[in-house]
Amino acid sequence: MTDVRRFEATVLPLLDVAHNLARWLLRDAATAEDAVQEAALRAFRYFGSLRGGEDAKPWFLGIVRNACFTALARERGRADVTLLDEDAWDRLEAQSPSPMPDPLAALGTRREQLLVDAALRALSPPMREVIVLRELEGLDYRDIAQVAGIPIGTVMSRLSRARAQLKRQLSLAGLP
């Protein structure tokens, strides 16, 4: 039972980060929950492979992202609204014309959230992955490299491309 306790103490607190990552990578809530559950079960099975003293966060997030990309691959061929939700974007643009300055302050926060979320959704999954891990979850490059299974150099170049795309899109929308 000690393994269960250790797992509860180290992995369960990471479910929030795990679910946030999964939800940002996958198209709907149900798929994201499935991926997290699948990842948690797998992590539990292979908990022994986590060395003593090793940071569980990148280890577990790596399992989560693999479950997500497996799910994405499974869905390939279906229309993927997560990848590029053009309709939502068009609607947003129509509802919130960018030249309008401040009078819509009441709508402000919500509008910014919609714009930021839409810009994140417009990224390809590999770019969205590094941005979520870096900007929302604050992981360092080394951990992101471990989670995504890519070299640190690739993490940095993906981040910089993702940032450029986000800045372009958000500036076009009139942010900040």
């Binding site: 269960v4 929950e33 559950q37 539990f44 099975r45």
Partner: protein
Amino acid sequence: MNDDDLTRLLKQHATRHPADERLRAAVRTQMTLQAAAQEAPPARPSWRERLASLTRIHPLLAGSGGLALGAALTMAAVLIAPRLTPDGPLPDELVAAHVRALQVGPLYEVASSDRHTVKPWFQGRLDYAPTVLELDSPLRDQGFTLLGGRVQSVQGRPTAALVYQVRLHKIDLYQWPVDRGAAPETLQRRGFNLVRWSDGAMQYWAVSDVDGAELQRFASAWRTAAAAH
């Protein structure tokens, strides 16, 4: 806009999706069931522990619905009434694994009707290469379709499980390396049928709720196909 502006925008405005209570409960339930299944079956003095672990499941049930309740009760039945047979608790463990896969899932982690997808999937997940049969085999002609495969903990070891379907029934086929052959033998546990055999290289166990004759038909079709493979 510079990088810092962007970071600030993302931090302030991007939606966060924390795990909700239902997901937490589901994960904990799954974990408890898995832990119960992984507990080394011969460790018999741990009755207290088993009962304790069962009561520990209880508070989790509130958040995770009847499915978990069903699975937990199934596990309870397995844990409370281990039958002593020449095979030890193995048949019970296999039936429990089959039931849990059906109820809680995943029934298969790699989905396919093509062994060229399923077989390579096991690479790196097991320390042996399981035999996977589907196409070009008489199995399909006899109505047995390969749905996919998963890695299942059996007696604490990662084990290949293939999932076949016949009509509406699912058949789990577990296999692991052995060095002795054995003729097919049929067993029953809690309404499930099991057939075990060995070809001298692999030990096979088929588990399903199809009737015994049908499962034997599956075993013999498999043996024929594997011999020709």
